[in-house]
Subunit: 305 residues, 2 copies
């Protein structure tokens, strides 16, 4: 079996029965597996993680969007998280046996189907974007559903990739894209000096000249007496977790501050984790097929190891 | 699904059709998965790695032994590797959802069945041994099939756990046991000084007062101009890979020799590998369920993550 991952975000975090209805296609579609479900009532948002054969996964996503369109009215929706759609954002990530290009193709096809079958305009983002200026989510979601509904969708540069210049009256618009696996990695420093954390975050992040494919910000963790350098590593083939860790560790050490501990947040792929072990042990060559559980996974999904 | 691993070793490494016949039950039994097959003509030996639901795995092992008994005559067998049986050694290792105690129970039950159904006497070893003096394989296999056949089986302390005081005329005897997952880990030092390697191997191994659950020896790697400290870590909960690595690295550094590189040999479990990453990054808490592939494996085998 060839596997791709989707992490669809829906604008519903308070009504469990609605989230269950949206998640149902991921449970019921053969060759698709729902790995994780998170509901957040403050953000009023649900994040699902599903894995499956690309074609089946795309069909399950479309069916889930159909439910979201039927059950969510963004005119009635409030929550802390920026959003423009009932089905808000759907990134695809390549896994075992699938390529990045296939993830891009899957995203573009789903975006077209959401428009044609559900009459919800769609935007392509990240690596699925057709215009480099449309890669980033914040620009697409600026002002949220309300801004698009009230006319922003007709502004130059904000027209959808699929659809006309009007949002769906209740379901808004949907952003679909493709990206590499992302690792959410926090390093907690044994200090309460937030300015130090900010300097290190600035030094490590790509946007201010740091490490490629690293986003970073400093977070004040008053309760634990720490400052956190919170990072998203968006391509660990380019900047591995170990490299980001050592950068932050060295920058803090230069100011006399040790690392207290780190945190890996959410689901992490085996490959970036194995790369950390390989680096720490100076292991010359190692393949994912050497990991017993990966071998089993390959056998179970019918891929040759 | 609850999973256990078996790594049965058979005394046939030259006739592929015989190894295929022996491996067939692992391919054909539902809820059992054959992960790896290795044939070595010099050792004249095959090593299979299979994973499955404990009951089904035990039945597949018994069926494979039946084939080995039918197809291998140890009186005609030659090879470098010590052996006493057509089915020579069968260790069970607990995996997802199974305990060490179950692996011991599975080993003891298989040992009884091999005697009762195939008339091959069996020995219990490692954690399945009923006598602490019978834990180690070299003692059980001393002198090989020929010694047992020629009367050693009747010596005090060498009587089988199941069976009478005669080997099976062609299939000899079989050793069955249970152990923790084993990690084969080599550290190659940038030196040609074999004595240095021997000193470090002696320092690190448990039998001469080093780290618990570590076996080690020095290997002269003339071709690459290195000396290798070759280790078996038999319980990485007790001595993790990182600890063994740092011990060898520090001992070599104390004599001015750096580590050139390391090697992880064969299949490695995700848990000991993740522990290395956790140590290297100072990650406070991490669960196997955070690894995406493990989550998928849990879903595929019907275990809740």
């Amino acid at each position: 079996m060839r596997l791709m991952e989707a992490i669809p975000n829906f604008s519903e975090g308070r009504r469990p029965e609605v989230v269950q209805a949206i998640a149902a296609p991921f449970r019921q579609t053969p060759a698709v597996f729902l790995l994780d479900e998170e509901m957040d009532p403050v953000h009023n948002r649900a994040v699902l993680t599903a894995v499956g054969e690309p074609e089946a996964l795309r069909r399950a996503c479309l069916a889930a969007c159909r439910q979201a369109v039927a059950l969510i009215d963004l005119n009635q929706h409030s929550g802390e998280h920026p959003r423009i759609g009932a089905a808000d954002v759907i990134p695809f990530v390549p896994l075992m046996g699938t390529t990045h290009e296939e993830a891009v193709a899957t995203a573009r096809q789903l975006a077209e189907e959401i428009w044609q079958e559900l009459a919800v305009p769609t935007y392509l983002y990240e690596d699925a974007a057709r215009d480099p200026e449309r890669r980033l989510l914040p620009a697409i979601r600026k002002g949220g559903f309300e801004a698009l509904r009230d006319g922003a969708i007709r502004e130059a540069g904000r027209r959808p990739d699929f659809g006309t210049d009007t949002v769906h009256p209740t379901a808004g618009a949907t952003v679909v894209g493709a990206r590499k696996p992302l690792v959410a990695f926090n390093v907690n420093l044994a200090t309460t000096d937030l300015e130090l954390g900010k300097r290190i975050a600035r030094a490590v992040r790509e946007s201010s000249g740091g490490l490629p494919r690293v986003r970073a910000m400093a977070v004040d963790m008053r309760e634990s007496g720490r400052v956190q350098v919170s990072m998203n590593l968006t391509d660990t083939d380019v900047t591995p977790i170990s490299v980001a860790y050592r950068f932050v560790e060295a920058a803090a050490a230069a100011e006399g501050v040790p690392v207290a501990e780190s945190e890996l947040i959410g689901l992490v792929g085996l490959a970036p984790l194995a790369a950390v072990a390989q680096d720490a042990l100076k292991v010359g060559a190692m393949s994912a097929a050497q990991v017993l559980e990966m071998r089993l996974l390959s056998v179970l999904t019918g891929e040759k190891a």
